[in-house]
Amino acid sequence: MNKFISKPYRLWKYIGGIFALIVFSTVAYFTTTRGKKIVNKVLVDQIFFTGNMAIKIISSVAFLIGAITVIQLFERLSQLGALDLIAVILDSVIVRELGPLLAGFVVIARSGSAIAAEIATMMVNEEISALEMLGIDTLYFIVFPRIAGACISLMALTIYFIAMGLLGGFFVGYIYAGISFTDFQTYIIREITFVDVIGAMLKSAVFGIFISTISIYYGFQAFTSTQIPQVTTKSVVSSISVLFILDILMTLSFSL
């Protein structure tokens, strides 16, 4: 294929493939009645795999980000005499931006890459063909539980990230400036609105859907064992790029 045609064609194939996986797997889940029990079991396993397994790393990253942000803000804002802005900045940084974004990065690194490698291995070992030969719809049995699992987990992880980030901020504020929990609650937690949290969850839901779908898409591109690390790397790189694009688009749309 001509190289001027092949690039747009590949991009079109990629975008089409991603949206087809999301739409058709969701339709398959809500229109198929048989095998619901085992598909739901796979879904619960995926939520556990993506959510529970990432809690440790999310705890430390969120706590440290919260702490570092408060240290930096405290120094600068006290010099400017604008300490009351700390709550607004924490809300913007931790709740609206870093919570969904960094939780997304953790999920890409831990689960996205694992999903891509798992599906690629299943392709190479003909496990996907074996499932098809058993009359099992792979969109229903393999794709949907991974997309839904990542989406639900990432929403929960984002809320957890925000809580741990604020806890890190409070901890440093308490050590650094003797801020009491009541003050923390008055100035910071009150600043975080329900809309901010819903916005963060919406972002993380979209991130979860796309991270898992991109990983699945690349997993399905492997046909030989040497392609497994290649598609895994591609899935991680592509997920990071898409995460930034989605973040910018969603932040802009929220601010309108």
Binding site: R34, G35, K37, I38, E118, T121, M122, N125, E126, E127, S129, A130, L131, E132, M133, L134, G135, I136, D137, L139, F141, F223, T224
Partner: protein, 243 residues
Amino acid sequence: MHEIELKNISLTLNGHRVLENINETIEKGSLYYLMGTAGSGKSSFLKVINGLFMEIEGTVIAGGENVYDLSPKSMLEYHKKNSFVFQNSALINNMTILENLSLFYNYHTSLSQEEIIEKINPYMDLFSIERNKLYERPNFLSTGQRMLFNIIRALLEDCDTLFWDEPISNLDQVERNKVKKIIKEKSRQGKTIILVTNDWEFGLSIAHNVGVLHNGRLIHSDSPEKILKSKDPVIKSLIAKEG
């Protein structure tokens, strides 16, 4: 009556021509034995019939319909009618053997786990496999044991068309004989069987029709008697290799 009809089938994978202009018919209730050297396209031939490739050239007619024109739902129904013994076992590695064997019933029926185990047990006895193996993951089993569970999984489906891709190559003599007996029995029951095996003596002894693949081309399709008498150097080398 034709069960399966392949018309002008060609297949290209990663830029390599795997199958080239295959025309063949497989009769309902017959045992079709496919022989050929390694890499001649035997496994791809079986997968093409089952619609396991995204794109092929030509048409595969099964049950009066072109397999590659089937809707996703009809394709699942078509797959349900065929069982496939994969050359490399293809058991799901993140499931236990019991979960692998139960998958078909758990997905398509409402049978209880006890009822499914009742269906599995006769095969466990037949192959003298310890029950505790059911709770292990495929990765922890030997190649031969994995192949046996792969065969059991296919037999549990109880389909009318069976595809066997090198089912006996990783088994010991006792197990080989048991599997051969099962294949003979299934053929006697009137099931359509498409068999790929390097054991040409066995293949030729039970087949109704034999296809010979060479470099992706079907160079012969005849009765076992005619294949045995053939002076074609490819056939002679295939038989001599094993003999």
